[in-house]
Amino acid sequence: MRVSAKTKEATRQKVLRVSQELFNSTGFRETTSRDLASAVGIAAGTIFNYFPSKEAIVLQLVCDALENAEATFNRRVRPESTLEEDLFLYVSTGLRQLKPMRGFVGPAFETHLGPACGGDANELGDHIRTGHVEMVSSLLSKHGQAEPPTAVHLQMYWLLYTGVLAFWAKDQSRKQEDTLALLDQSIKMFVSWYLAG
């Protein structure tokens, strides 16, 4: 039987939704592809038609959340805010959107977004990284930085950003308030370093 594109997309979305629920309730490691297929209501092998691995599902969830966060950020950003405020708001809005998956995204950050993954990053990881860095560049430009940031600037930013992500994923403080403090320090550090040339 031929499956329509619409049905296929609906199933894909269901895989993502159900995966998030199961990863949270059962744990990422403990959830098997068979468990996922069963919960979605498809044959065990069929799930690979949608995603090649559990890690790919997580990365897609992260990508979707960050795309939603970008739209939310554009609504929340204020014209009179400073560069530090904008960068802080951009990252913190992303963290808020990622919050429902905090329990299981840590390893995916390290594998696909961390500074060490370099050329081994997959296509979706590259997409997330490129989108994020482009937004940071546009914020620098909005605040009067005519020269585009160099590769060194962006690498420094990315190091700080992924450090905050890794800290947040394991942050045991009340309502992850320590992450807010760390993010504030990281952004201040980056901006002062960037502006100093």
Partner: protein, 476 residues
């Protein structure tokens, strides 16, 4: 022009110069720039190195003073001591501006010591009460969403994005509730609670050289008590409960106001309360109030302090200018109840009673016996100096109450004597005391400074007697 602390210290007069008088004017202004907008470092190792650095700077400053003392006559020593104190305070201020948290609380207490901090510097240190580096609005709104579940502008009819007051633990914004009520919203810096815990973890290793003395356990108890006290300051739910309890102690005829807390807009990290219009002490004094106006406020301060202790069984030890408002209609506003000691248990309350009754006699032997019990001292020779100084300190604290007639709080000699006794207690390493003593001393010194700066000449004893009559101590 922004100066760094090293430049300020270099600019200070040397003790051998003709005029070693310490003028705080220009330095005071320049010091404001030292309180820069640096973030709170929360990493344990980084903070430990900063604290260690601070300790080292202070040790070097005092060591230098000690060496010079061998070669100087008494007058020169006195001048050198002042210079050393001032330089030490500057160095401490440099570190505090960065560390905030617990170390900044030390700085606020330091503002109450005119001997350590000359007049000009006192004014600068007091700015710590109001001028801590602010949270930017993006950080603030994330904190509000975390705590109250929505953006400030959705929760309130109006929300002023600029803080009107800042302190070591948080900052305060004006807002209007949808009911129309003007409120003050106090918001805590994220991570500051952990910063304070880290400070205290770091403090114990720095105290280790004292571990072989007989007072080590007592010293540890005091540090533990201080740790709990300062950590409680980060618990805004507790503070809101205390504030509500204190508010219930005052009535319209007292002309003393405690803002109402709004629990639906308050959490462990945020307190929303009525906004009170009024001046802090500096602004009040700048208007050159008459002696009668000064005295009137001093009487209200006396009543507020006595009511809270004797009827509320609480001790608001965080007495400094930032916590009192001189309102346009003559009322006194009390704000900030983060550092309030709860006098718990009948045994403790009765001990308070015995101490108070003995102090009110003004007699050496009674006060000595009461201080012995309070400070957990013995008749052993090693406790003799502590007991002598503690007795004198107690007598000075209660002197305005047992000496008949009006008492001149503006008497510099009285204030100086009190500070000298405290300094002697510290210099003689009289560390053994009641665990709450650090807080109690903070309370007494805070009152001294407030009343001294007010230049009040009042008889506080009728008010104190009236307030203590509600305790039932006479029958105990």
């Amino acid at each position: 022009m922004a100066l760094n602390v090293a430049e300020l210290i270099d600019a200070l007069p040397e003790v051998d110069s003709d005029d070693a008088t310490l003028s705080g004017g220009v330095v005071s202004e320049a010091l404001a720039t030292v309180l820069s907008n640096r973030p709170v470092p929360t990493g344990s190792m980084r903070r430990l190195s900063l604290l260690g650095g601070l300790q080292a700077k202070i040790a070097v400053a005092y060591g230098f003073h000690w060496l010079r003392g061998w070669f100087q006559d008494a007058d020169q020593r006195e001048r050198a001591l002042k210079e050393t104190h001032f330089k030490t305070a500057l160095k401490m201020l440099d570190s505090m501006g960065y560390l905030r948290g617990a170390v900044m609380k030390v700085g606020q207490t330091l503002a109450n010591f005119p001997d350590v901090a000359p007049d000009g510097l006192v004014q600068t240190l007091e700015k710590l009460h109001f001028q801590a580096p602010p949270m930017h609005f993006s950080l603030l709104r994330e904190t509000v969403i975390n705590e109250l579940g929505d953006e400030p502008h959705n929760l309130f009819a109006e929300f002023d994005e600029t803080a009107f007051a800042a302190a070591s633990l948080g900052q305060v914004h004006r807002a209007r509730l949808k009911s129309g009520q003007q409120v003050a919203v106090k918001i805590q810096y994220p991570g500051i609670a952990r910063t304070i815990r880290t400070d205290f973890r770091n403090l114990i290793p720095l105290l280790l050289p004292s571990r072989l003395t007989g007072d080590w356990q007592n010293l540890k108890d005091q540090v533990e008590f201080a740790r709990r006290g300062i950590e409680q300051e980060t618990d805004y739910t507790r503070e809101a409960e205390t504030q509500t309890r204190v508010r219930q102690l005052f009535f319209e005829e007292d002309s003393i106001v405690v803002p109402q807390v709004y629990p639906e807009f308050s959490t462990d990290r945020i307190i929303t309360m009525d906004y009170l219009e009024g001046d802090h002490l500096d602004a009040f004094l700048a208007k050159n109030p008459s002696q009668d106006e000064r005295n009137d406020y001093a009487l209200k301060l006396t009543r507020a302090g006595a009511r809270i202790v004797y009827q509320g069984r609480l001790n608001n030890v965080d007495v400094h200018a930032g916590n009192y408002l001189f309102m346009p209609d003559g009322r006194l506003g009390l704000i900030d109840f983060g550092c309030v000691l709860r006098i718990e248990g009948d045994a403790m309350w009765e001990l308070y009673g015995r101490l108070h009754r003995a102090m009110m006699t003004g007699e050496d032997s009674s006060i000595r016996d009461a201080m012995k019990e309070w400070q957990q001292l013995t008749d052993a020779p090693r406790d003799a100096e502590n007991l002598r100084l503690s007795t004198e300190f107690g007598k000075l604290c209660w002197k305005p109450y047992y000496v008949p007639g009006p008492f001149n709080y503006g008497d510099r000699e009285y204030l100086q004597r009190g500070i000298n006794v405290m300094t002697e207690l510290m210099k003689n390493r009289c560390t053994r005391s009641h665990p709450t003593n650090l807080m109690q001393a903070r309370w007494h010194v805070g009152w001294w400074m407030m009343f001294y700066r007010l230049g009040a000449i009042i008889d506080p004893s009728p008010i104190v007697n009236e307030e203590t009559s509600a305790t039932g101590w006479e029958s105990c």
